[in-house]
Subunit: 197 residues, 2 copies
Amino acid sequence: MSTRPGRTSAQPPQRTDARLNRERLLATAQEVFAEAGPEASLNEIARRAGVGPGTLYRHFPNRSALLTAVLRDRIETLCETAEELLSAESADDALAQWLHGFLAHARLNKGMGGALMIEEPAALGIDCHQLILHSAAALLSRAQQQGTARADLSADDVIRLVVGIALSTARTEDPGQPDRLLALVLDAAHRPPQGSA
Amino acid sequence: MSTRPGRTSAQPPQRTDARLNRERLLATAQEVFAEAGPEASLNEIARRAGVGPGTLYRHFPNRSALLTAVLRDRIETLCETAEELLSAESADDALAQWLHGFLAHARLNKGMGGALMIEEPAALGIDCHQLILHSAAALLSRAQQQGTARADLSADDVIRLVVGIALSTARTEDPGQPDRLLALVLDAAHRPPQGSA
DNA sequence: TAGTCAAACGGAGAACCTCTCCGTATCGTA
DNA sequence: TACGATACGGAGAGGTTCTCCGTTTGACTA
């Protein structure tokens, strides 16, 4: 009780040097991840941000936390888009459009987003993971209610297919391949579970 | 000239200790990869095989080479299966059956096969990669000729979709998910590229 | 059987990595 | 200005990959 002066939040107000270092680390991490992919050296990020490794690790206890923080803005934007798309006329188009956006996100920085989605479901990434699953579920179930998406399909299935495309095309030389594969998957999602030929 | 006694192959006959060490390394690697996944420590493999790290690295210059060697048998078997399936009655069933086998392969040891397929296309993996692409292409084009698989589909697309499923479900808790997702993809592959709703 | 030597071994170690610990410096406040 | 909590940063522990090179050994030859 009575730990902080008068903020609505629980934490005591962060020191300004800490806040600045955090911002610098985030900006640098975004750069370095973009250059070297999600396996980039965290030491290198600290060095380029002009702080010691200890500082980086206090702000972000592990790689996953840093990746999550770097991607959080983008993920939140993505999920806001989902909210808007929920009032679109065609639930089908809405789902397709959102999944294209999600694929682009998951492909960012050599599959960094996709990797995070799979690697550490129990770590810091969990809230982002849930956020995305929630958006996908909302869009999918609306399409299912409208009858344009097959009923035997879960949001987790759809997300995994798209993440899979992101991962397996991370190093492709064919720039059109990811969207082409997504179109194929969407095609399958539209059709009723056909019995025979 | 006159380096080797009388073998048909080009290389001088390997020394028996070298051959034994190579076999021990392969067997140990298989075990350790199965336990710890494709990121397992190569030092640990050398130690458990009872050889120094230098010996491991002379036989297998990098992780990819070792993974490839471990998987080579299985890949060759897979491709032989493809040959047999080429004379099956239904090209469609043949493709489906082979892809199920390939998915199982790619999921081996926490996505080790899939990872190799994507990670190092230019390294040692290249022949295996080509081998698999070749098998997939043969099965696919036969299904396309029979008219049961859509024509606007490349073997590379199909392989990437399946590898994607393997990678993104490497840590899934739902044991039925991989095959379920493959069934979905196969469904899409069967249908003609439908125009609209 | 003894001698020879290329081939193979193996381990020390260089260069990296992640992550921790703790003495020191700094911020914000009284 | 003085003080205490907060944050910094770098040394270093313990891991990794991979190389180098002196030593050993298998296989051939005389």
